[in-house]
Subunit: 755 residues, 2 copies
């Protein structure tokens, strides 16, 4: 090869680039021509020869491009030190001296073309052992140990439920005909009743298991299967049965509980009315007492007062716990509960009862929701569920709780179990979705280094970001809901309000999480995630209403915040004037220990991964937001706003009050659970997941931390990086972490989870 | 009344509170007792008498409570100056002198009980004219003027489409049987074809309207109706028809276009394979040329290379544009497109073709998606769509674009129209959802000031926050998509890459917005939003896959960011060394004008609502994120990371690069559109909406602005407040703003939107 020929080889990379890179446009042809013409060490003839190769109206042949490609590939592979286009040109030109000293011209050219030399060169390398390619599933702990840890004392009942729902009879119903689906779900419920799963929480003397903890575990485990089944089950044994149990007295228990538990007596929980969903205190259905006949007359006063959305009403229910205003002698004694028959055993609607069908819904179409209207329906006096209020022999109202308001909320308080069952069911659905999406992402390959094989999509950082923080949060919620359940089961009267608020809050926290998780899972599984066979469809649509029922989440969060505010005022008040000083001092101490420039800028890994730092940050946020909300309300009122308006102004702030509280509780429980693990390998993995939960929440709230000055930008930026890193480190364990949920294959069902 | 008696009346508020407030617990009884016993001005007997009233085991009668209530109500209503429990006690006690000077004790008591005196007192007032109650729909502009402005030059075709889809034949199909649904959608498509709506973009000589702008307007307007219809329509006339038009040559146009436009020839667009969705360059289906017979043999080499998710394939398609690797003499010439018959006119599947049915999906069940496999299917040479590549008479490959890579992307580039149709369809779905949710929220009443009537839920700040920023963003996207459409229609070759990136980005931005909007609308409509009759079900489920098809959003966002990065490098490079100085100088100027302490802390309303401030903030963010991403990648590579790994590390950052770009473009277009409005009233309303969009985005990104130092906490806090205030101010216009979409009643259909 002549010297000249070698010299001109320096330009092959440019020819190749301009013709093959789909990002280069016409304008870049000119850029290259100018570049060549500016190389004064080339003769005019040479320049002409070279620019002819990049004439847009005179393209090279496909073979030319291929020859260039092979030349470049060989050169790059034989010279691993080549890093830039200039290096490459130098080698290709046989180290022509004219190329010395014009490296910057080449760099400028790279810029002008909008390319990165290193990237172009790497595409010709055969070494495709990139870090990204090498990452793979490689679990560091024993999956069954984690399963046992998650199940805890409920392991036996969880395994029993899994056995039942894995039976052939529980094969999913795929018909889109809601009549077929409703009957199938009803049949399933009968099997569960037969297995004594429905009456698990009822007293033993009525055939029950007297085991509330097991009951909640059943609700959660059933949720790995069909969610219509769970809701139908919850309506019958939870809402209908537990309303009789909690609001009624011995006579009602004796008469109904056994048959409710065996599903001989299907029933409803008729609270919501068309015009009163969240604001149940405003219910309009009336129960008028007639002392002569010792009966109540149940009446729907207008169309908008019909009972609406009542599960079990459209087809199967024979009885209903009806919430209605008790009227005696034209006096309104507030909302009370009554057992009202609505159908006979043959399923015929009784006189005075009108039932409507809510029809097709976004999901849960195996549940027969309906409307119920009452036209002068008479029921005997004994049908009043009279634990908290009754009509005495003289026909007078009697109650140990004189205030109607307070009595009503006491009644509602006994029904708080529903706000534990639903978030636990939501949790199971999130676990199912994550299992499907993570197992798919571990197998599904798409793209890869140029010329290398395609890599699992879970190796992509963005895919890890989409799924793994959700996995961490779902684990966190698991432990928080365990805690809520324990608090509820072992409650004292004095703790009830706190537990009610916690339940309302965790219901919102968990169900919103599930909605978000399943949306991400759907998208992360692409078109496959959209096919009904892969079950994200059902999981997503069935749970979508979880954020609404048992109380709209947004409304519940306001209640939680109000409770926190009240608690805050009490805590503040009790301190007295000395306490005030202490409070300020405490704040000052916080400022010293947490808000000093060293802490707010501390980006050491040790610090960022530290449990205590996480908890302090969560607590600090909880306390500060609460305090600022209280002050803001006070200030608005002091400035003359009606309190009602003042609370409206801070509604958005109140949501944050509740959120910060729930996040702190959840972190605390995840930390406690992790600390209790003895197995080292397991503890290590859970610790990483815990750190990811903690830091991801802080990252989500970082604007608040920056506004407050609790963290400096250098720290929030370091946290973002650490979140990325934790995702990367957890990725090899991701499949094991979802395997630990031990969801039966037949329930998971999605073909994409079993590739 | 004796003096003593009056004195004791001071304690009535406390009795009432403790017995009626459901937030007070046992502990507070003790608190009250202690308070009473600490009042040394009371005799022991009096103390005893008083504490007896708050003995938890000896409740008062219901009548007692009622008497207290009436006493308090009368007192408060007759003395409007009462603000605190102490004021109240003073008046009740007939201004007993002993109460003087113990106001702080009462305040402490309020704290101990966790209550707010003002709130308690306000509940007894009859003046329920709170600001919150008084807010109502009261539009400030003429709705039809806004409709005309939104529709612009496409008003006639939009009105025509609305007329067609309002016809009786277009009543929604409610069957859950997908066979019935698919046939109904097909029938609808035939009507649209007859109305010459399908062929709107085709040349006039093949029966078309040669009007691309109208075609996109049709896609968008049809989306007010059934979304399966839109997708089926888009598959037939857009994907199938436009692939023949854009990739084929005159012979194909002559042979097919007329029949495609009239729906005589239903067809498919067969690109995606089971194992290649996003990474279409890796398609495995092959088309092998046989020079002897002048035919291609189409072959599916393995199960995972079957064409998947192909619209129109499962039932109706007779032809398909099939993307396959062209093989000549064992050489692979990259992916090209071929017209392949799959069914005869009677609907029988042709020899060598195997069709599967994707079955039930989360939504779009009126579209018959299927799989197609080819077993040695022979097609004539002329069936190659040969605009960009062909096989010549000698049986050799020929193309004006020598690089296979570049040719493939050029082919794809011609199909970018789909990435305009989908985001516009998504926009219409978001408009439908917002119309339903806002009209419902304007009518639905729930809760209200104690004793006052219930108020529309749209009067709640939190409900405004949930819906109105989404309304503003949806308007913003409307204008951005108008801009994208215009750019696309008037494109030059040179601009193509920028427009492709913009389309990919706006497709993601709009479809993600729709997913978020519809989720919020569902929740904001509570249980009613879950009923299929209210249509959020269909809107949500049908559009959920929009974030996936025409390219997974996350993947598209990476492409957008790569394009921005390339543009950035060019801009940077072109400046040369002198430019570098200018660039730094520019940054310095920015620092002076935008990042000085006065600007970063400026919280004046005038400044916060200023267009220029918004645009500068968006531009600054866009530029800074892009620059930092470029620097980060460079640094990672300089530190020895493989470029492939480096790009993986910054994927999350890249999403933000794309996001910031799209937000800036969207804001710019919304600003330009608003500036062009002449009607003052309309301009005022749109300006508020524009400000809400701008500030809500800044609020969403405030962590970034704080980290960067572009804003100080005092400013981001003021922005949050301004967002709340704008929501409040826009609320009376909210219904008019959705009415302006002028969605036909029969399409909106949701009963809750028409109460």
């Amino acid at each position: 090869m002549s010297l000249d020929k070698a010299k001109l080889q320096a330009f092959i990379p440019l020819f190749y680039l301009v013709w093959s890179d789909d990002l280069l446009t016409q304008k870049e042809f000119q850029t290259l021509q100018q570049f060549i013409n500016s190389q004064t060490w080339l003769t005019q003839k040479e320049q002409k020869e070279l620019t002819a190769k990049i004439d847009i109206f005179n393209p090279p042949s496909r073979e030319d491009i291929n020859t260039w490609y092979i030349t470049l590939q060989n050169t790059i592979q034989q010279n691993p030190s080549i890093k830039s286009l200039h290096d490459l040109a130098t080698v290709l030109s046989n180290h022509n001296k004219n190329l010395k000293g014009i490296a910057t011209q080449f760099t400028k050219l790279e810029n002008d073309l909008g390319i990165l030399g290193e990237e172009v060169i790497s595409e010709f390398k055969t070494n495709k052992n990139t870090l990204t390619s090498n990452l793979k599933t490689n679990s560091t702990f024993e999956v069954n140990k984690l399963t046992s840890f998650l199940d805890g004392a409920q392991e036996p009942i969880i395994n029993k439920v899994k056995e039942v729902i894995s039976r052939k009879e529980f094969a999913y119903e795929t018909s889109t005909d809601i009549n077929i689906y409703r009957e199938k779900v009803y049949e399933w419920c009968k099997i569960l009743a037969k297995e004594n799963l429905g009456n698990m929480a009822y007293p033993k003397k009525y055939g029950g298991g007297e085991n509330m903890a097991d009951y909640f575990a059943i609700m959660e485990t059933l949720s790995y299967h069909d969610l219509s089944l769970v809701i139908k089950f919850g309506v019958q044994f939870g809402l209908w049965g537990m309303s009789v149990y909690s609001l009624g007295t011995a006579k009602h228990h004796q008469k109904y509980l056994q048959d409710i538990g065996s599903l001989k007596l299907p029933g409803c929980f008729a609270m919501t009315e068309t015009h009163h969903g969240s604001n149940v205190k405003g219910l309009e259905t009336s129960a008028t007492y007639n002392h002569k006949t010792k009966t109540f007359t149940i009446q729907t006063p207008n169309k908008n007062a019909q009972k609406e959305y009542i599960g079990n009403a459209a087809v199967h229910g024979q009885m209903a716990t009806v919430f209605a205003k008790l009227i005696i002698d034209n006096h309104d004694y507030g909302v009370n509960a009554f057992v009202v028959p609505i159908r006979d055993q043959e399923g015929n609607t009784l006189k005075g009862i009108t039932i409507g069908d809510c029809g097709h819904k976004m999901g849960l179409n195996g549940v027969d929701n309906g409307t119920i209207s009452f036209d002068n329906v008479e029921i005997p006096k004994e049908n009043m569920l009279d634990r908290f209020a009754s009509v005495n022999e003289k026909g007078e109202f009697e109650s140990p709780i004189p205030s109607d308001n307070r009595r009503f909320f006491t009644m509602l308080g006994t029904l708080v179990g529903g706000r534990i069952g639903i978030p636990r069911s939501a949790l199971a659905a999130a676990k199912s979705g994550l299992t499907i999406a993570i197992k798919y992402a571990d197998q599904r390959r798409q793209f890869g280094p140029e010329g290398g094989s395609e890599i699992p999509i879970l190796n992509y950082r963005i895919h890890q970001r989409r799924l793994l923080p959700h996995l961490a949060k779902t684990y966190a919620i698991h432990f928080a809901l365990q805690y809520l359940t324990n608090r509820f089961i072992n409650r004292t009267e004095e703790e009830m309000q706190e537990i009610e608020a916690l339940a309302a809050g965790m219901k919102s926290y968990s169900t919103w999480n599930t909605t978000t998780v399943l949306q991400e899972c759907r998208e992360a599984c692409g078109g496959k995630g959209y096919l009904s066979e892969n079950r994200i469809d059902a999981l997503k649509n069935d749970t979508d209403v979880y954020t609404t029922f048992e109380g709209d989440n947004t409304v519940l969060m306001q209640l939680v915040a109000k409770n926190r505010l009240s608690e805050f005022r009490k805590a503040f008040g009790e301190m007295g004037s000395m306490g005030m000083i202490n409070y300020v001092f405490e704040s000052a101490k916080t400022a010293v220990s947490q808000k000093n420039p060293i802490a707010t800028r501390n980006t050491s890994e040790e610090h960022l991964l530290n449990n205590e730092f996480h908890l302090q940050a969560f607590q600090y946020r909880e306390k500060s937001i609460l305090e600022s909300a209280a002050k803001r309300i006070k200030k608005l009122i002091d400035n003359g706003l009606e309190p009602y308006d003042a609370f409206n102004v801070v509604q958005h702030h109140m949501i944050e009050v509740a959120q910060a509280y729930l996040e702190r509780v959840t972190l605390e429980q995840f930390q406690k659970a992790t600390a209790s693990v003895e197995d080292e390998a397991l503890k290590n993995t859970l610790t990483k997941l815990l750190q990811l939960y903690a830091l991801h929440q802080i990252e989500k709230n970082k604007a608040w931390y920056l506004e407050d000055g609790y963290m400096e930008p250098v720290k929030t930026k370091a946290i973002r990086k650490t979140v990325n890193q934790l995702c990367w480190e957890i990725r090899p364990d991701a499949v094991a972490l979802v395997d630990a949920f031990a969801i039966p294959d037949s329930c998971l069902a999605a073909p994409i989870a079993f590739q």
